[in-house]
Amino acid sequence: MPLVYAGICSHAPGITGRAERADPALRDPFCQHLRDMGDEIRAERPDALLVVAAEHFANFFMDNMPAYCMGMADYYDGPIEDPQWLGIEPQRVPGAASLAKRLIGRMMARIDLAYAQEWKFDHGIMVPLHFLTPAYDLPVIPANINCQGPPLTPPARAYEFGRALREACDAVEERIALVGTGGISHWPATPDSGKINESWDREFLSRWAANDRAALTAYSDEETWRDGGQGGFEIRTLIAVAGAAEGATGEIRYYAPIPIFAVGCTVGRMRI
């Protein structure tokens, strides 16, 4: 089946871990947009949710760091963080091992992809699932792009990863929904945590909504680090979704800097 859904959202741990400290006038509509995104995904009756994420040293370290990795496990446990710190209770999330294996096999024609049959979810996936699939009953296929430990895959390759993902999803029988989750500008876990470059974010989101491949893949790491901080490297996850939706444009449903969440909180959807 053709891919049934493609969207993006934020995943910062403060969204659940420091929820009570955010301005309700911003927090509540943002969380409602996330829940609405979950409703829209379920309306497409997906067999699996494929989450392109940027994990934070939960599974992958600099002793053997894959640029791209996809999960093909029967289940995933999370969060790896302290549940009280994150504000999310431990969950076992169903996987879709057979489907994942077929997707990965097909994608390997175009992408040098690692795979994993063990994977612990960190906030990068658990925070989106908390809102999108609060019953944790939709099988998930995780995909990770290394956005933490340089050298990092270039944005142009992240776009190509998305294109390969789309081709593989379109080639199988199952209905697959795709969500990319990452920050735009942010300086997490530093004394600057809460700093957000709103104009840089809005420029990025305008390129994303236009699905302007040349503009999305023009970011250098030097420019991203300077203007978007360490967290800005996670734009790769959002660029991958644009690649999966090549030929379509999108809309930003919500964007607002919420400093205590340390990121410009975003919900967007491609019109695939």
Binding site: E81, W85, P150, W187, P191, D192, S193, K195, Q230
Partner: protein, 104 residues
């Protein structure tokens, strides 16, 4: 300087129940498993979150060690600011500060 192994120890501590048990039962033994300098061991032992930050420990790793050692969010952020004052600028890695004026 063996920043890589400081981070590897903390990475394992964050994810591996066996490493966590070793942390609880034999912390010195856990430190000895890694190629660490005396300054690094002392910072991990104290814990000196500010010095670990200045050494260049990636924030995505350090924030969980801070939480494990009982630093709630605002105290963790303050510990990094104090570390900058005491020990100078971040020595390595990506998690530098710019203006240091975050949300808390």
């Amino acid at each position: 300087m063996s920043l890589y192994y400081v981070q590897k120890l903390l990475y394992q501590l964050n994810r591996d129940p066996h490493a966590r048990a070793r942390f609880d039962e034999n912390f010195e033994g856990l430190l000895d498993d890694f190629d660490l300098t005396e300054e690094e061991k002392a910072a991990l032992r104290a814990p000196d979150i500010g010095l670990l930050y200045v050494m260049g420990v990636n924030g995505q790793i350090l924030m969980h060690y801070a939480a494990l050692r009982g630093f709630e969010w605002d105290r963790y952020i303050q510990a990094m600011r104090d570390g900058l004052k005491l020990h100078g600028p971040v020595r390595a890695g990506l998690y530098l500060t710019t203006d240091g004026r975050g949300a808390v």
